[in-house]
Amino acid sequence: MVRNVRLEMNTHEVSFFLHVFICNGKYDLVTVDSFFYRKTLRSQITALYLQRNDCIMKTRRDIFQAIADPTRRAILTLVATHAMTPGAIADSFDSTRQTISKHIQILTECELLTQEQSGREIYYHFNPNKMKEVAEWLMPFAKMWDDRFNKLESIMKKHKTNK
């Protein structure tokens, strides 16, 4: 039996919709509609779905993990100003080339860096769109405080007129 379920979720009054197709007691396809959640939540839900159904998925690197490391943040800051070759990036650090190369690989896997071939050299560019995904994680937190403060404001406005 196939069921198509549209779930409305609400967390801190941020609403989003999940479209779920249920087939033989397993959820089969999930999409998420929301102003705030978009891509990040969709990939999280997909990951959950795959886990629950014992599917093997290619591990997607956590962007937060990627930017938690000070060396990787330094690489991003460096490359943000201008595109650089891996050699030029490595020269800016005391660590070995292998270490820096591993950091570049992690940043590339989560698409914070993009590669561009120019002649015989590869140049790494900073991808600012990917950083916006990090900002999306912040949205529910900002929304939680905004809801609280809206409540504070309306309660105190009433308080003012009641006096």
């Binding site: 379920v5 779930l7 979720m9 609400n10 967390t11 801190h12 941020v14 989003f16 999940l18 779920v20 249920i22 007691g25 397993k26 959820y27 102003f35 959640y37 939540l41 999280q44 839900i45 959950l48 937060f64 930017i67 938690a68 000070p70 943040r73 994680w137 912040l138 529910p140 937190f141 900002a142 929304k143 939680m144 405080w145 905004d146 609280r148 403060f149 809206n150 409540k151 504070l152 404001e153 309660i155 105190m156 406005k157 308080h159 003012k160």
Partner: protein, 153 residues
């Protein structure tokens, strides 16, 4: 949807700024933090104790709709200047989140508007990021539970 509340959390730092402008005189904004009955209303929590003075302390308890206490919070108050400043700590009991230090600055903008700036300092950049991710993680868990419920039907 534009939010009136601005969060400024720079990568790799262990602090955060929460800023909000209110259509309220600064005196009323401050009272919303100073009086227990008002705190209960807008925070949606029970105020067990609130001594808004130097060397004072506070305790809040939040219950779920069934009346079971789900979160206990407490802190000590370091300094209070009416309509200007509250310096306090904040701790969520029985959670892995370390105590945080909060500087609440109240500012008059006009006779009818004011600004609140919360400067929150965490134990480490990672502890800050864990707190930032909490509401998002709750959303994921809720989605997960709802899916499980639907599957059981």
């Amino acid at each position: 949807m534009a939010l009136k509340t601005k969060i400024n959390a720079e990568d790799g730092k262990q602090d955060m700024l929460i800023t909000r402008e209110f259509e309220l005189p600064v005196e009323l904004l401050f009272r919303a933090y100073a009086e227990a009955e008002l705190v209960e209303q807008w925070m949606g929590t029970k105020v067990i104790k609130l001594e808004n003075k130097q060397h004072g302390s506070y305790q809040f308890e939040t219950s779920n709709p069934q009346g079971v206490v789900v979160l206990k919070m407490n802190g000590v108050i370091h300094n209070v200047i009416p309509d200007e400043l509250i310096i306090r700590t904040f701790e969520m009991e029985n959670t892995p989140y370390p105590t945080q230090l909060e500087f609440l600055q109240f500012e008059k903008l006009t006779n009818d508007t004011s600004r609140l700036t919360m400067h929150v300092i965490y134990k480490s950049p990672n502890d800050r990021d864990e707190i930032l991710k909490l509401p998002f993680a709750q959303g994921i868990n809720m989605a997960h539970n709802r899916l499980e419920d639907i599957l059981k039907k």
